[in-house]
Amino acid sequence: MNNLKNIILAEDNSTLSQLIKFRLQKEGFKVFLAKDGKEAITLIEQNKPSLILTDIMMPFVSGLEVISHVRNKLKLTIPILVFSAAGQEEMVLKAFNLGATDFMGKPFSPNELIIRIKKLLAVN
């Protein structure tokens, strides 16, 4: 039952990830933070999350590589929501081709993010 509420958040901006973590915890989710794609992959393999939130541009391993790993190697069908900055439209398309479920352009509203997460988890 607990696994249903596990969320992995891969984001290199520590302040933003702490803010999102707080909001999600308030909504009853358990959040695992990763500051780069490499850490995210380790956390995904260890925690069997219900949803993954990942920034596209991250050090060491990018968000695209995280999506590819989840879909092709781990064969997971859980929703993946990607964050992207303005001007990364091509990256977003690549993310969708690799299997991302949804995306949010930065700057985004944390309130809207919560609504989207709830919807994605409800559908799945």
């Binding site: 302040t15 803010l19 930065k106 985004f108």
Partner: protein
């Protein structure tokens, strides 16, 4: 100890005194350089140490201020003004008086502000005002070195402080170009197209880079409805005309077709070239007659651009005009004209008079499907 050193140095000094002058100079110079090098090595070590200490301090303070900011936002989320929130404001206000700490606080706020929108972004903007950071930036707009003024404008822009607009407008005529540019970007960021009103009276240069920055700011605004830009297209400042042309192209403003046709005879060649490029982009058919009638008066650079225009819009009525250009002395024009002619009228293309000058182009285009 001193005796020992003197005893040690004595033979060296005696040996030195017996050396030829040139060697003495070499020894003195070498000794001097060695001493200077040692001083520099110690100084560099000291600088590295200072930078390391400063970096560590910055990192520590950043993490403290980020924690403060998050705590403030969490409380704000709960819609309550707690004692803790008041303490955070008080602490940040106090620390902001130190320029070093102030910079770290501003960076911490911006780090989050640039990633979020909505109520969280509004709360950060409010915190910026409550902690007097805004007041300091406003003070920096006056009597400071130009780079401090430019930095203050940029900061006020990022925190969307609309009320400083009258002060920023005064800086549009600042003696330093960088300050003027920041003031222009501020106005566009806050007011969108309305912020471009400074173009009405602009007499100074607006470099290509400034124009790109302004377009970038416009790209971010919500209301993408381009206002009437006729007065900018008619401006006496060539840079304003150039920028207006970029706007016409970016926003596909077909309604300025007449203005663009008038600009074909502008006195500046770069403007004329840019006008032809915009007309090509918008594929304005009405300009065909003007191009044909004035073609010989244009420079080769403009003629090349005109041929690119015909490459997009030419039809049967242009065959004669294109035919004449197939033997042009300029390779680009000759090549494009032959290509267009083959596409429009194959039989006329095959009747082209082949000369030494166009035989290669003719054979190449003939071989292509």
């Amino acid at each position: 100890m001193c005796l020992f050193i003197l005893e040690f140095l004595n033979p060296i000094i005696r040996h030195y005194q017996h050396l030829p002058k040139i060697l003495q100079v070499v020894w003195v110079t070498t000794l001097f350089l060695i001493i200077i090098s040692i001083i520099f090595i110690f100084y560099l070590q000291y600088l590295r140490y200072r930078l390391k200490v400063e970096d560590n301090l910055k990192e520590r303070l950043s993490s403290v201020y980020e924690r403060n900011l998050l705590q403030y936002l969490f409380d704000d989320e709960e819609k309550k003004s707690t004692k803790q929130q008041k303490n955070i404001i008080k602490k940040l206000k106090k620390d902001a008086q130190d320029p070093f700490k102030r910079e770290i606080i501003v960076k911490s706020l911006l780090k989050l502000k640039q990633e979020v929108s909505g109520s969280t972004a509004d709360a950060i903007e409010k915190l910026y005002v409550k902690t007097n950071l805004k007041e300091v930036a406003e003070q920096n707009l006056k009597n400071n070195p130009w780079y401090a003024v430019a930095k203050a404008i940029k900061e006020l822009k990022l925190f969307k402080i609309k009320e400083v607009t009258p002060k920023i407008k005064l800086l549009l005529s600042h003696s330093v170009k960088e300050v003027q540019n920041e003031a222009q970007l501020f106005l566009v960021n806050i007011f969108g197209f309305e912020g471009l009103d400074f173009l009405n009276n602009l007499t100074t240069n607006l470099s290509d880079w400034n124009q790109i920055e302004l377009l970038e700011e416009l790209h971010e605004i919500k209301n993408q409805q381009l206002p009437n830009i006729t007065k900018w297209l008619q401006s006496k400042n060539d840079d304003v005309v150039s920028f207006a042309l970029k706007l016409t192209k970016k926003y596909n403003s077909y309604e300025y077709a007449d203005e663009l046709i008038n600009l074909i005879s502008h006195q500046s060649q770069p403007i004329r070239v840019a006008v032809i490029q915009v007309i090509t982009h918008l594929q304005i058919f009405e300009s065909k007659a003007v191009f044909k009638s004035k073609y010989d008066y244009f420079s080769e650079i403009e003629q090349v651009e005109i041929m690119k225009y015909f490459n997009e819009v030419a039809d049967d009525s242009d065959v004669d005009f294109i035919y004449k250009n197939c033997n042009h002395t300029n390779f680009d024009i000759q090549f494009m004209a032959s290509k267009i002619l083959k596409h429009l009228n194959q039989s006329k293309f095959e009747k082209l008079s082949i000369t030494n000058g166009n035989v290669k182009v003719y054979n190449y285009i003939k071989s292509k499907n």
